[in-house]
């Protein structure tokens, strides 16, 4: 690629383009019809040159400065929905991205959200910039929701809470803080984990490695492997944990296992880093789904927690979440918060108001809050029923005796079917079932009516494809 990209006078005739002449080594700089050609050592010819007047337009570069850029591969998760849209088969099923669907397989906007938005419209609030750390009312209720309003971390003001762009944005703020203030510290992520976790830490230049998590033999948790790997990590590592409804497996530690995980993290002076994207959405209970985080907080540990309201309040595209850092003192929390602000300011200045106001209104109003809890129970309930139906269909149709009960043991929106890449491809290519290549299906995209069809597809892929 020519590094001496030139612009030449448009007045030159096309067949004897001065640019091509020069590139071919012909023509001379300073010749009359290339008045605006850049001449390296002669300082700036433009201020004095009278010939500029003849040139009405400079022909731009012939080669793009971005020519060498290659086409990036499509996002593995979000790309699934795009492929689904392009499929015209009427039997198609989108079990890709984790967005809740009704029994009619339609997107769902919660009633409380509509009510909150109408309230906001009536009030006619302004659209001024939020502070860098976000809406104060939102930050208050989000920390209380997560830790419990009566938690000492709240009353002692030991949590630095900054509104972030849903889960992703909150994770990113934390990742940058880690890179800046814990240089060289590693983050340990579960194997497998949400596909975007690695990208976030890579872009923030935080080194990461994996701890064993999923056991394909049991389609369950490899607890010994997990503990071993956390123990083996260098002291002071960050351990990324899914608060509930592990994505992509749906496999969560039991309460007893959580205690042991906390033990080993404390032993090694690691820092727990929770990703809480499904509080209330997993079991249907906000408190139950926060139990793991609260267990750690009750031990007096310092903790990072990223929250998202995409699923539990259905606010996907509003991008509302928070990063919470539990610190050992009020002053420490204030300092950490100030540094999180310094990270947000050069990224997007301050966060978007709309989603934050919706959350603050719903959580802050007792009637709306109760309604929300009911809607969440309804959503979680539908997913549990679909799991049951899928399990029943698989068990009755599959004569091999394979144990499909992991479908019932797993929790949340996703299920790790245990299908490998080829089998997952078969699901899509033969059965028009769209899912991610790691064998993950989103139960939220399934309804009772389609369970039998899905069971057929899974059985076929599992037994007939390797």
């Amino acid at each position: 690629m020519a590094s001496n990209v030139l612009s030449a006078a448009a007045s030159a005739s096309p067949s004897t383009s001065p640019v091509t002449d020069l590139l071919k080594g012909k023509g001379r700089l300073g010749s009359g019809n290339v008045g605006s050609l850049f001449i390296k050592d002669k300082g700036n010819p433009f201020l004095n040159s009278k010939s500029c007047g003849r040139i009405s337009m400079a022909v731009a570069v012939n080669v793009s400065r971005f020519e060498a850029i290659t086409m990036a591969p499509p996002d593995p998760i979000l790309g699934v929905s795009e492929a689904f849209k392009a499929d015209n088969d009427e039997k198609k099923l989108n079990l890709g991205v984790g967005a809740y669907r009704t029994e009619e397989l339609q997107p769902y906007v919660l009633d409380v959200v509509k009510k909150a938005e109408n309230l906001m419209l009536e009030r006619g609030e302004n659209k001024e910039y939020l502070p860098i750390e976000g809406l104060a009312a939102f930050n208050k209720v989000t920390a209380e929701l997560l830790f419990g309003a009566d938690s000492p971390v709240i009353s002692e003001q030991r949590v630095a809470t900054v509104q972030g762009l849903s889960g992703t944005g909150s994770l990113r703020l934390a990742a940058v803080l880690i890179e800046r203030y814990f240089p060289g510290a590693k983050v340990l992520i579960s194997s497998p984990t949400w596909g975007n976790h690695k990208n976030i830490f890579n872009d923030a230049r935080v080194p990461w490695s994996e701890y064993r998590y999923y056991d394909p033999k049991t389609v369950g948790l490899d607890f010994e492997g997990m503990i071993e790997d956390i123990k083996a990590a260098p002291e002071g590592s960050f351990i990324l944990l899914h608060g509930c409804a592990h994505n992509p497996t749906g496999i969560d530690p039991t309460p007893e296992q959580w205690e042991k995980i906390a033990d080993v993290i404390q032993e090694k002076n690691h820092i727990p880093f929770f990703d809480v994207a499904y509080q209330g959405f997993a079991s249907g209970s906000l408190d139950q789904d926060a139990a793991s985080v609260r267990l750690f907080a009750a031990r007096g540990m310092e903790i990072f927690v990223a929250q998202s309201y995409s699923k539990n309040l259905g606010l996907y595209s509003e991008r509302i979440g928070a990063i919470n850092v539990v610190c050992s003192s009020t002053d420490t929390a204030a300092r950490v918060k100030s540094q999180l602000k310094r990270i947000a300011r050069p990224m997007y200045s301050n966060p978007p108001i709309h989603g934050a106001r919706i959350v603050a209104n719903v959580v802050g109003d007792p009637a709306l809050f109760d309604e929300w809890k009911a809607e969440m129970e309804m959503m979680a309930g539908r997913i549990k029923r679909v799991r049951q139906k899928l399990y029943d269909s698989l068990t009755s149709k599959d004569k091999s005796g394979k144990d499909w009960s992991f479908i019932l043991k797993q929790i949340g929106m996703f299920s790790f079917t245990g299908l490998n890449k080829n089998q997952s491809d078969n699901m899509t290519n033969k059965w028009h079932v769209y899912m991610t290549k790691d064998g993950r299906i989103s139960l939220a995209g399934l309804n009772l009516a389609k369970c039998e069809y899905l069971a057929d597809a899974i059985i076929d892929s599992y037994h007939n494809v390797s």
Binding site: V61, L78, P107, K127, G300, M347, S349
Partner: protein, 453 residues
Amino acid sequence: MASKSFSSSSSSSGCSPASDRRISVLARHLVAENALSSSPIYASPTSSANSVFAHIARGPEDPILGVTVAYNKDPSPVKLNLGVGAYRTEEGKPLVLNVVRKAEHMLVNDRSRVKEYLPIVGLADFNKLSAKLIFGADSPVIRENRITTVQCLSGTGSLRVGGEFLAKHYHQRTIYIPLPTWGNHPKVFTLAGLSVKTYRYYDPATRGLNFQGLMEDLGSAPSGAIILLHACAHNPTGVDPTPQQWEQIRRLMRSKALMPFFDSAYQGFASGSLDEDAQPVRMFAADGGELLVAQSYAKNMGLYGERVGALSIVCKDADVAGRVESQLKLVIRPMYSNPPIHGASIVAAILKDGNLYNEWTIELKAMADRIISMRKQLFDALHARGTPGDWSHIIKQIGMFTFTGLNSEQVAFMTREYHIYMTSDGRISMAGLSSKTVPHLADAIHAAVTRMK
């Protein structure tokens, strides 16, 4: 890194694991001071013992947004906030445009609307309409499909995504920013991975443009370097090149293959005309070259807190644009996955509806006119007081801000004695003024200039 002087292992004592844990936690707090005083990490006297964050110092307040923080704390009834650039009405109140309220009502009441994730690049309609707005509906770059436009978080987000893209994929990792420029620019680009240099811009002697310095500095920039250009209403000075000067800048830049990166935060807000304020960008787009432009709807649609903006990259051809777009997605996905829908939907609704669009242009012109009128009133008030100095720059400068030329001591004086809040570089937001408050400001400037040199 934090280090404990003991282990909480339950095998070391005869207690149960649970009580062991409780004792460990207690002991940690009791022994902490002694155990850790020798560790260099816990140097901060205010830190709590045994915090892994003990070494994290308090960050300073953002200099621009910090002005409003200080203003809010002031109890004086005559206080004036001329800090952050948010439009205020004649009554000193924030303004939500009528068209915005209308569009919002339409959106919220539309029962068919959902809140599903937007694509990584944002709302498609919004992107197309934003490109049309800045480049002009009949622009060759649009006709030739040579642009990729991605929705981003207002101006800041667009600049950051563009900067990160350039740092990853462009061969020249230096960006030149004007001196002075918006306080957040250097941080945005540094964190994006670019190295930041400056080019001369403001001439304090004339309170105008140092055109010669600008041309010299661009002329000596390495070939291919990125140049940040304020599309109109330069922030903080309000000093813009003339059309003729823009043409010379363009030619120089193209001859050196300098990559233009426009920051367009005030289209329509500066002169009152959307087309006029877009001329510099369109001039560059028309010559067939490549460029980046970050658009913000914070001011011209009053959508500040909704964080609506767009990054457009004009490429040589559609194929390059497609590849560039795919790489922009890789920048966005690990940052926030996909952008917020609300503000972009409002913008799209207004831009695509002929009546709403016309209403918008009228409201926009009214805002711009009010600011121009404030400039005139302030200039007249200083003239009437016989304030020493030439204050004509107040009416020559354009846009929301005026670079008064006051120094930081004079600014501090004005804050102390007259409760005027502004950034220490002497920048005032004309949008924060009203006919009622102009006299107070004029008094303050007069006092500052005559009493503090």
